[in-house]
Symmetry: C2
Subunit: 249 residues, 2 copies
Amino acid sequence: MVGKVYLIGAGPGDPELLTLKAVRALGEADVVLVDDLVGREVLRFARRARVIEVGKRGGCKSTPQQFIERLMARCARRGRVVARLKGGDPFVFGRGGEEMLALRAAGIDYEVVPGVTAGLGIAAAMDVPVTHRELAHGVTFVSGHLRNGTEPDWRTLALTGTTLVVYMGFARVRHIAAELLAGGMPPCTPAAAVSSGTLPGERRVVTRLARLADDVARAGITSPALLVIGGVVSLARGTAAGLTRRDAA
Amino acid sequence: MVGKVYLIGAGPGDPELLTLKAVRALGEADVVLVDDLVGREVLRFARRARVIEVGKRGGCKSTPQQFIERLMARCARRGRVVARLKGGDPFVFGRGGEEMLALRAAGIDYEVVPGVTAGLGIAAAMDVPVTHRELAHGVTFVSGHLRNGTEPDWRTLALTGTTLVVYMGFARVRHIAAELLAGGMPPCTPAAAVSSGTLPGERRVVTRLARLADDVARAGITSPALLVIGGVVSLARGTAAGLTRRDAA
């Protein structure tokens, strides 16, 4: 008997944001490999599985990527159904693509179960529509932390007319804001930072781009956090700081 | 008794990509207002609801947006639980933000239930990781069809280093490809068009940016379809046309 690997997006945090397909795959699983950022409540759907934590966080001791890829393949070759559970969507950052390619190269059967990416889950929890016909032509999800010390071209991103959602950019928020301003993004552009989005411990600050770095520090937001930048942020429910609709237009 | 409106994302097509929260909200609903692009299978979760079709498609007779917003508010004021079901994620195009603002202005209680946006669902079904550390710093979801005849700044979008996913761009694929090329995107950039993504009738073509418009016409792809443009498209499962990993790097 040959096994299989499900690459599963667990959504942004709230266990109710798992898909039916993710729940089914967890129910079939013999083994679950789970990242740090996935809430433990979702493991109740993996009734008969052995759970292995393979988290890695910036700065902390972590499980090497190659080890994870080999472990998935080994379990599947032994006939096991493996659920590889990742936060958000498996293909939005988090190296799900690399894991898929490793499985493909190893000839292991796999299936990708998409999920609600953190940027959309958190925007929904804040009542921020990431697109809006008058305020944003689209939305860009970008990583603030790239390989080899390179980084996104913030000055170009400042000109796209899309809402920017920055993953893993919290530690560099001052630099990112400065680059966006240098690229021509107005200092009064509404901007937010959110940690533990969609969860009971959610913390957020809603402010302006020019003050984002200072206000994030003051508000005690901690990593991991998402940054959301663009006119639509003015629509956040209960937004203070004088961010009215008129300001954003 | 006061009612409530759930603004629900139904995901990209496959009913299994509904979230648990969407299923719960449908189960609570007295009334479901459903768009054209939502598969009818998901209505089985709305066991006791009256279903009202409020679809609108480009070119066809459609339900005016204001009528939908008033109907939601009226039902909620009568104490009904309303499920407003939209394809994909309610806040990625599709005017979910406008509907939320109308409810807020009317003082109606509402809750946003995020979903798997079509761009992520379809990419997962094609095995295309929309981000990849070597191939794309991020992903941009953009609408090819904007209000007032304006359009996204394709030449700037060509330079962002992100995977581009174009919603509602099918009818203008030739123009969009030409603009991206004019903006400096290489002609050999891998590109795909997908219709009925994640559903049994899915059709797709995987090619190069320079040939996208011709190949889409030849392949018989029909609207609505998504365009996915960027190096990551070379990773699609079963990709023909000589799109190897090396080409994309």
